[in-house]
Symmetry: C2
Subunit: 211 residues, 2 copies
């Protein structure tokens, strides 16, 4: 030990409450998020682990009307394609789900993995190159928790064609889209996932998936 | 709002301290971790987000001497291969790094993504099937923070051939290795990444990677 005090039982319990209230938020209020607060949660995301300290994350702010329209059009097309894959009750439920907050979320980021950057000197990626993408996921997860602890809600949109997003945002060819994030003040907060409320799936946890 | 109290400024600060002290731990004490504590951190991991509530994570405990030997042999082979890719100072530094805690960590898990399970009904994965793997990464990140908040250290080993790990642990063919985790009581705690201490890389954060 280097003298840092341990984390208290109260903190551990509150951390558990944060995990349980994290939520994927699809319904945002339209009021803006103060820029210093956005900087603060991005700053926390930089303390995420990354393979070989490669820090391959690239956060691209999506703010102009033209770029937002391109993302929404991308989503609408992918969502229509996805709907075709369901039948009967599943199709009805799917069509009723609110799957994005793209129309209203005041802050939006496309998060990429830079496959071409040499930082980290390849350590830990030779047999598992996907570790770079996983490092970006870790930063998103840290950002998500930091945001939620400050009352902000986050939505991770994956119903997008990654290549088309990269083209619309004019990022280098070797940047891979890992996540598209909507950030803002949530309309409501709750402990039950929206997909569970809507009857799509239920949460099981890890116990059933432990060998 | 549904009446849950917000998270306090004190909690936000303590959460920031947790992010900063998280660390990838390579040096463990050999004393065991109580099973109820292991169950507790696994339970927290189950509150991670997953695409479509698919919960594709599969945690396989690696405990027998034979399985541990297979993992260590896999690591040694991949590590020797990786070392061949470095020259000069990098090669010397790489060879001096302690890259795993496989020899001593009392608790070890191979974490897989089950690509064949239908839970979640494919929601959110049509255009980005890698979202299932990313969901598993999210559960590892939550487990990591839950463990660290309880004083435990975690090491994510990626210098492994994923297919050979799956074969050694006799998991189904459509399970992909996402992470190999060593868990235990750390020898020491600190805020500076071991790779930074060893002169391999330095941390920059997100600010330089924001567009």
């Amino acid at each position: 030990m280097t003298g840092q005090p341990a984390f208290s039982a109260d903190f551990q319990a509150e951390l558990g409450r944060l995990f349980r209230l994290r939520r994927d938020v699809r319904r945002f209020r339209s009021d803006p998020v103060a820029e210093p607060l956005i900087d603060e949660v991005l700053g926390e995301a930089g303390f995420a682990p990354s393979v070989g300290l490669s820090e391959p994350w690239r956060y691209v702010r999506v703010a102009t009307a033209a770029r937002r329209a391109a993302i929404r059009e991308n989503f609408e097309r992918c969502n229509a394609e996805a709907l075709k894959g369901y039948r009967g009750e599943d199709a009805r439920t799917y069509a009723s789900l609110k799957l994005a907050g793209l129309d209203i979320a005041p802050v939006q980021f496309a998060v990429f993995c830079d496959a071409g950057d040499g930082k980290g000197k390849g350590l830990g990626t030779r047999s598992m190159p996907e570790m770079r993408d996983y490092s970006v996921v870790c930063s998103v997860m840290v950002l998500w928790l930091a945001a939620r602890a400050r009352g902000l809600g986050l939505r991770w949109v994956s119903i997008l064609d990654p290549e088309t997003v990269g083209q619309a945002l004019e990022v280098p060819d070797d940047w891979r889209l890992v996540a598209y994030l909507c950030l803002g003040w949530p309309e409501e907060e709750g402990a039950v996932p929206e997909l569970e409320q809507a009857g799509w799936e239920v949460r099981d946890g890890v116990a059933d998936r432990l060998l």
